[in-house]
């Protein structure tokens, strides 16, 4: 009955913002039954929510047949989340790349002023590493590593 680490769960769902809450709750609950604290599960839920919202809003939104894939590799002491979707324009991908890079260069209040990018800032605050990649089929992938702090 016990879980064995590492293990992976994946969820594929339509590019529809309303589906994100059940997806993030599922991941949160999976983490909790695997022994992670509610605090860590909640933070992961925030991360998943933000990344998926970005993926849909700036990637595949408007494409009724598109889908988002969330993959979580759950280890004893960390979680690696990969969110993939297809359809982001080159401009949006570059914008995303710049937003990931920007935290080391500029004040985060820039996002507050522009009312953009807060989700990604929260992800960066809550995680250890974040990486963006786009393959030759225009599949955009954002990988986030979040490390367990409660031991």
């Amino acid at each position: 009955m016990s879980v064995t680490f590492p293990y992976t769960i994946t969820i594929k769902f339509p590019s529809d913002l309303t589906v994100i809450p059940p997806v993030r709750k599922f991941i949160s609950e999976a983490l909790q039954v695997s022994g992670f604290s509610t605090k860590f599960a909640f933070r992961t839920e925030i991360i998943v929510d933000a990344i998926c919202n970005n993926a849909i809003a700036y990637g595949s939104a408007g494409n009724a047949d598109s889908e988002v894939s969330v993959s979580c590799e759950i280890c004893a002491d960390c979680v690696e989340i990969a969110v993939k979707d297809r359809g982001g324009s080159a401009a949006n991908v570059e914008r995303l790349r710049e937003a990931i890079r920007r935290s080391r260069l500029e004040s985060p209040t820039k996002e507050l002023e522009e009312d953009t990018g807060m989700g990604l800032e929260i992800v960066k605050l809550l995680s250890e590493a974040i990486e963006l990649s786009v393959d030759e089929n225009n599949l955009t992938s954002i990988n986030v590593i979040s490390r367990r702090e409660d031991g």
Partner: protein
Amino acid sequence: METQIQITCEEIPGKANARIVRFTGDLDATNVDFTTEQIFSYFGDGIIRIIADFKQMRYVNSTGLGILLHFNKSAKEKGGCFKIVNLNENVYEIIEIIGAASLLDIYEEMSEALASLE
């Protein structure tokens, strides 16, 4: 960590070897062992008349239903009872569909279940 279920037990004034046992949460395959241990610990302590209050029980699957039937049978074999009260509509429907409603001791109201204790 299994699906959360809480089981609390309270005495019934004037009724020897009887308790109200309140269940909270979901009863499924992940916590049937824990639940079985709890109920059988009550049986082992001589508490053979149990009124199971399911008011806060959201969900019961077929595995959970199986142990309820087992508790019912075991209690009767010991000369006691396992009465179920305050089932929600959804859970009751599952019990009814599978044909177990007539096999279990089910009451709508706690007062009825208490009155049925000798």
